[in-house]
């Protein structure tokens, strides 16, 4: 492993910061969806990555067959993700709320179904979303990034901000937050727990699919595209304390930045190792994550 010993690479650090924040934003979006479901239902949905992947395919399908306008395709994917979320909640996860083991098995089954299902439907070749305007390169001195980098940052910011407003202002959102403290509390606001669960999963699915639809045009759409975001998203919610939306957002950004910068100072095949070692080290210092407080039902 040849590695150049050089002066502090200021430009490279800045370039990697831009890239790291962009990937971090995608991880954050992913993590927020997972942490919502975990917070409200105590369900760890490992199949969240499959919904992310479905978002990529929905976006490709929309651009190719519904409308070549990217924002329309984004809405299409997001709505599709919400629908998938509703179906998953109703048919699978509602019945597995108290059963972590079977959440794992069901998620594994769903991942196999989703990944091999799109393989049968769309073939094995990675698909490319044709959006030349999003691929346009912007230059800032030595730095170069695409329009899509900015679109991703903006879309994630809007999504997270709207989610914040929804959770803090709307009756449903307040019910969701109440449910994450105590499931019966939702009834106090006059909303049946089952409805809260359905809405939570729909929201989570929408966010995952949006993430896939955002990353798709920059990179490729393929069956395994949700695998790495799943690992990083899990790491993000744990770093963020497994309970708060903002913790997940900051966790996602931190991981994006860390892995981007780590590649400048460590061999690239050890990049993921650096991220996971950092996770373990953080938890040893702060056993409930960076922003965690005690979780319901725990001593």
């Amino acid at each position: 492993m040849a590695f150049p010993a050089m002066a502090f690479p200021a430009m490279a650090v800045i370039a990697q910061a831009v890239n790291g924040i962009m990937m971090g934003a995608v991880y954050a979006l992913f993590a927020v969806g997972m942490v919502l479901v975990f917070g409200v239902m105590r369900v760890l949905n490992f199949a969240h990555g499959a919904v992310f992947m479905a978002g990529g395919y929905l976006c490709w399908f929309a651009m190719a067959h519904v409308s070549p306008i990217y924002p329309v395709a984004l809405l299409f994917s997001t709505a599709g993700g919400a629908a998938i979320g509703l179906v998953l909640e109703r048919l699978v996860f509602r019945r597995l709320r108290e059963n972590l083991s079977m959440q794992i098995v069901a998620s594994l089954g769903l991942i196999l179904m989703a990944q091999n299902g799109v393989l049968l439907l769309f073939g094995a070749d990675a698909l490319q979303i044709e959006a030349p305007s999003l691929r346009r390169v912007l230059r800032l001195g030595e730095l170069g990034f695409t329009v899509q980098h900015l679109v991703i940052l903006a879309a994630v910011a809007v999504a997270v901000a709207s989610l914040h407003v929804f959770l803090s202002r709307s009756r449903l959102g307040i019910a969701m937050r109440a449910a994450s403290q105590d499931i019966q509390a939702a009834r106090v606001v006059g909303i049946a727990p089952d409805r809260v669960f359905a809405i939570t999963f729909a929201l989570s699915g929408a966010l995952a699919a949006l993430g896939g639809a955002l990353l798709g045009p920059l990179f490729l759409v393929f069956p395994g595209m949700g695998d790495l975001p799943l690992l990083k998203g899990l790491t993000a919610i744990v770093l963020g304390g497994m309970g708060s939306v903002w913790g997940a957002v900051l966790g996602g950004l931190a991981i994006g930045l860390l892995e981007a910068e780590a590649t400048l100072f460590a061999p690239t095949d050890y990049r993921d190792l650096v991220v996971f070692a950092a996770l373990i080290a953080t938890l040893l210092l702060r056993p409930r994550g960076l922003f965690g407080t005690a979780i319901r039902g725990e001593p």
Binding site: M1, A2, F3, P4, M6, P9, A12, A15, Q16, N19, M23, Q115, N116, L119, G123, A124, D125, A126, Q128, R135, V137, R139, E142, G144, T146, L215, L218, F219, L220, F222, P223, G224, M225, D227, L228, A260, T263, L264, P267, T268, D269, R271, D272
Partner: protein, 385 residues
């Protein structure tokens, strides 16, 4: 599996010779990846097998000991898992009674399959994986049609040194193909060319920005990409979009029209790649195969398909010469004595079962066509690579 049905159907449609019973089909086994990250590569491999299968059965199959027998393929997905590979090999050998097994895409799966082939006395012909050690384990039942890492890298390595393309940077898949390619190239170059940077990425990873930053910092003159066409297209786009004017050097997957379609000519101009099968080369055997492939699959032919096509055809040739499908040792000996002119070139196996088909270096022209630049005697104009 689909191909197996196809073969049976062909067998049923074939005119029955006289009143005698229809001849028993010759079963050949295929191990490949139909799911998982290498499913796309597996498709090219299967396309080659399907073409060869049809070519054989069109003529009534293989003539064995004076009787023409149709060919049937049994196809199993091993998706690069050693355990599934071993099980599939055992099933092909002992349940399906395959006379020979062909294919595979991943070196670790091959390493689990070859001892099972030996236990069952079934010859195994590898058509894609490139790790050198696969034919060096002293297992006489293993043959490889395609060039290994060292054979593939040799010409390109010489080219890098001659043209002064060092310091060199690598970006490679963190899998058997990528790590093996880098290891072999580094060993071949030795002290003759400086390696400025080696970066690995996981299969499925799509962001190459870190490598771009590092390559810029390391001051590499050329970048060698050990990966398939899909990440390759992303990597090149990201290198060029970041304004890096390095010489691009790629693998056989990158000398293809499909690759061009993922990018465009301005990204590729000047890029060179080693190639075991330049699909637009003017040689008649390559032209004939490419035309036939295009007619059937509506796209340019692929090296994995050509290698797999040749493997099945030479398997049929060996069975014909052996005059048996049940005597494994006789089939193995016939295979070892193979001298076959295939689509990829002349194929004969050395003492380790390794073939030495021709290897080319091709280069992209400004207009989105390719030319052969090595070997010198086969060099072609733009449009012929």
């Amino acid at each position: 599996m689909r191909y197996a049905y196809l073969a049976v159907a062909t067998a049923l449609l074939a005119p029955a010779p006289g009143f005698s019973q229809a001849p028993k089909p010759v079963v050949l086994g295929i191990v490949t990846a139909q799911t998982g990250p290498l499913a796309a590569a597996g498709r090219f491999q299967m396309n080659g097998f399907a073409m060869a299968l049809d070519a054989l059965n069109r003529d009534g199959g293989i003539e064995i000991a004076g009787q023409r027998r149709p060919v049937a393929l049994k196809v199993y997905d091993t998706h690069c898992s050693p355990a599934e590979g071993a099980s599939a090999m055992e099933r092909l050998a002992s349940v399906d009674r395959a006379a020979m097994v062909l294919g595979e895409l991943c070196s670790p799966a091959v390493a689990a399959e070859t001892p099972v082939a030996q236990d069952n006395s079934v010859p195994f012909v590898i058509t894609v994986p490139t790790a050198e050690n696969l034919t060096l384990s002293g297992n006489p039942w293993v043959f490889r049609v395609n060039a290994d890492n060292n054979q593939l890298n040799q010409a390109l390595g010489r080219y890098v040194v001659e043209k002064g393309l060092a310091p060199l940077a690598f970006i490679a898949w963190n899998n058997d193909a990528g790590r093996g390619g880098v290891r072999s190239m580094e060993a071949l170059l030795g002290a003759s060319a400086k390696v400025a940077y080696t970066g690995y990425f996981n299969v499925g990873e799509v962001d190459f920005s870190a490598h771009v930053s590092n390559i810029r910092r390391a001051g590499a003159r050329s970048v060698m990409l050990f990966m398939d066409e899909e990440p390759g297209a992303l990597a090149i786009r990201q290198l060029r979009d970041a304004g890096l004017g390095v010489q691009l050097i790629g693998t056989l997957a990158m000398g293809s029209a499909r690759f061009l379609a993922r990018l465009d000519a301005k990204y590729l101009a000047g890029m060179m790649q080693y190639n075991a099968f330049p699909p637009s080369a003017p040689q008649p055997r390559i032209r004939a195969f490419d035309d036939q492939y295009r007619a059937r699959f509506k796209e340019e032919s692929h090296g994995f398909a050509a290698q797999s096509y040749d493997a099945l055809m030479l398997a049929a040739d060996a069975l014909h010469r052996a005059g048996t499908t049940t005597d494994g040792e006789a089939v193995r000996k016939a295979l070892a004595a193979t001298s076959y002119d295939g689509v990829i070139g002349h194929i004969a196996f050395d003492a380790h079962g390794q073939a030495a088909p021709p290897v080319y270096v091709t280069q992209w022209c400004d207009d989105g066509t390719r030319k052969i630049i090595f070997p010198a005697e086969l060099a072609s104009a733009c449009g012929g690579g």
